[in-house]
Amino acid sequence: MSELQPLSQPQQTAEPLLNVQEMQFWLDKAVAWGQADSPDTQKDTCLHLNRLRDFLQQLLAHISNMSSTAETMKKLPLLGQFLGRLCWNPYVTAGDTSRNLLLQCLWGLYSEHPSNAVERKANQWIRKVLCQLATEEDDGVAQALMKHMGVPAKEYHLNVLTKMVALLQENVGKSCCSLSNINQRCSCDNILATSDACVPLITCPEASPLIGALLQQPVTCVKEALSEDFLDALSSAYSSRNLSLEEQALVSLWHHSLPSLEEAVLSLLESVTNTTSTPQMLHQQVAQSLLPKACAQHCSLFLVTNDIFRSVLKQAEGNESVKSLVQTFTRCFLWELALLQPQTSVSLKAFFPQSPPSLLVPLLTLPSEMPQESWRNHLNWLSGSLQRLTEEEEEGNGDSRSTRGHYKVFETWFLLVQCAHWVQAAVQLLVTSPEDCGPLLRLLTFYHHPTNRWHHRALQLVGAREAWEHLRSVFSVSARPPIDRLQSLVTLPSSPAPLLTLSLLVNFAVFCQQPLSVSTEILQTVVHHSGLVDEAACVLSSLELRLSEGSCLSNDRVHLRIKELQKTLTHMH
């Protein structure tokens, strides 16, 4: 029978390696922490909190695997003592996770139906410990006052805690390392100690004013004032949505801790790519994420965020939702920067260090900031510059400089993605004033196909021109075009740049001189057969957004047409 046991109970042989030595180690720690209350002990406790949590997790798994408390106590006789000591350690009980794990371990030891003296005693002990933890006072004066003043314990402790937090917050605000007085003792040690002490209190809502104050402390000293553990703990609490910080505190957190910034950017990306949102919704999502505001305040944050965008785009350059996000993000960022600008005087170059300098201001200027008559010249110039830049790099790289060449092309393209309002302006121009469409088409093709793999760009340019000409002819006939003429458009998804063609289509539908009914029908037919309803709606919405924002007030006719087309598309769902 004993030979069969290992086979029938594989759990016991494959147990987590909870050996007696580890138990002893942690018990010794717990004893040491309980005995002294010096700064060193406190520091030691804080340093070990993470590992302690892991150990408690292991313990919990171990306890759950046991069939009875008696068995657990037999295997780990020191367990009771250990858990008991931890209960009285405020660093363990202040933090949500560690307290929870500790309590779970205790529950694990409680037996619903105790079958022997050991289990009965364990039950009693557990109840007693819990009662003491929640109701006993070790401060005699506090006890006396509470009793005679009729103040319940909870209210009292809450008041004291709030008061302490306020006091500490004041201290943090006061202490500033003044470089002028070298003799003055650096108070950064206090800040460091406070931030260390706050590690177990990250998820305690009453402590959040203090945490906010710590984060927003101006960084004046050479030494790093906030402890690593503090920032790490904040970061992980934030990513598991356990943390609520005020705006400025959050910005400060990102500034202090890059991982938390990365987390924020990635989660924004995720939320954008998972759902199809209208341009307005996207704008709102981006603004609400607080990232543009943070980037406007700290150049370094903007640079890091853009690096993340770059790497995402490099992996999937055709990803339209990411491209829209980048464009919206840059718009929001520039808006926030303009709000701050009177106070700061950081040049644009600092925010866009890798972009071609000659293109920076021309691209960042919005079409709405320029009279519509100058668009063509501007776009022609842009197109020419882009072409020159790309050809330079691509041709001068038969040798090892190939990666460098592509680097410059990529940066140019990335800047264009950030300033895609000019791409949209180009589409509008192609539709409204069709002369000399060459440069505009080149610009569009570059936007949709930045990499010139196997020199396909020439081909793609041809395809774009064909699509544009076809659309022009379709929309210039004042009667309803026969179905066969629309056939080639119907195979939209497989054409060179479906989105290029789609945006041309939508713009034609809006701006052409044909009666609305004709335009509507053409749009409806093509979109229905190609299945790109959502994408078309998006293009329409962003067109509307762009037109209504800028001072280039298109006439009411255009807005009316847009509204009608939107209605049509909505009904197609």
Partner: protein
């Protein structure tokens, strides 16, 4: 009023059930929530009516009746008095946690980590995580206290509460006995923690310094302190000077304390110094002189009067001008009088 009394009585009975009875075995979360709600109701009743002597009396009578009937049925029953009412939720919690029949699932619920605080929608107060929160607050205080001045925050909160309570007691009427009784009880209970009590009094006096609303309790406290030399002598010197400046009566009382300290002193020939003979020497001769000087600086009017008194005392000691024979003489010369 009848309904209120009935509710009061029922709640006390409910508390007794929670603390002593085996019926709690069948309780579920909503039973607990409802019990806390009723306890909170009684706390509210207390705050509304405690300053109304007539209603208070009626309630006390009701409580007496309820306590009596419960005592008959439950061995070891602890009475719930009127002054316990403001802490009824706490008493309920203590009762529940001490009752071995409370099902473990309820305990788990009380000690659960609370979720986002959004309990406006439920019918009853959400008691999930109640104990967890208390433990967290207490632990957080302990974690943060090494960073703050020793007990400063605690003392300040306690001081504020003390003054509030005094104010409430004094606003009831002209009878100052309850207030005296309160202070006396607290002092007695803090016997072992004398220093902490002084910190509380200090905080209480400091925080109400410029508060117009708190003049009555402040005056009362100062009056009370005059006779409590044991507390007075442990208060910080600067505070005492400030208080002496403010109040004539206090000024005289403080002066009396200083004189009493002087009279306790004996001259030790081997050290050439006057030293206090009491079991807890608080002050050296040097410090005593400093205190007198500080007092005279703050209250110049006191100087002449005290000089006369000290001179009289010196005369009663024999009026010698030799050092070491009369503390009063030495004091006078140290003070340049």
């Amino acid at each position: 009023m009848e309904a209120v009394l009935k509710n009061l009585s029922s709640t006390v009975e409910l508390l007794a059930v929670a603390a002593y009875s085996g019926t709690v075995e069948q309780w579920e979360k909503y039973n607990v929530s409802r019990a806390f709600d009723w306890a909170r109701y009684c706390e509210h009743i207390y705050s509304r009516y405690h300053s109304n002597p007539a209603i208070r009396r009626v309630m006390e009578q009701q409580l007496e009746l309820t306590n009596q009937s419960l005592q008959d049925v439950i061995p070891g029953y602890t009475e719930v008095s009127f002054s316990d009412l403001p802490r009824l939720q706490h008493l309920l919690l203590v009762g529940l946690l001490n009752n071995p029949e409370v099902p473990i699932s309820l305990l788990k619920m009380l000690f659960d980590t609370r979720g986002p605080v959004d309990n406006m929608k439920s019918e009853y107060q959400d008691v999930t995580g109640l104990c967890s929160h208390i433990i967290q607050c207490k632990a957080a205080c302990k974690v943060l206290s090494p960073l703050t001045e020793l007990s400063a925050a605690g003392a300040e909160v306690q001081g504020r509460m003390l003054m509030e309570r005094l104010g409430a007691l004094l606003s009831r009427g002209s009878d100052t006995r309850p207030a005296e009784h309160f202070l006396g009880c607290v002092l007695q209970e803090c016997e072992g923690a004398g220093r902490q009590f002084c910190l509380v009094i200090t905080a209480a006096l400091l925080t109400t310094k410029n508060s117009a609303a708190q003049t009555a309790p402040r005056e009362f406290l100062l009056d009370w302190l005059q006779n409590k030399h044991s507390v007075l002598q442990s208060l910080p010197a600067t505070l005492l000077i400030d208080l002496a400046k403010e109040h004539k009566k206090f000024r005289d009382a403080y002066c009396d304390v200083l004189k009493k300290w002087a009279s306790d002193m004996e001259y030790i020939i081997s050290e050439g110094e006057w030293v206090q003979t009491s079991t807890n020497p608080t002050v050296s001769f040097q410090k005593l002189t400093e205190r007198f000087m500080a007092l005279f600086e703050a209250c110049p009017s006191l100087r002449a009067k005290t000089e006369k008194e000290l001179k009289a005392l010196k005369i009663s000691d024999g009026d010698f001008d030799v050092k070491g024979l009369s503390v009063w003489g030495d004091l006078l010369s140290a003070l340049n009088m």
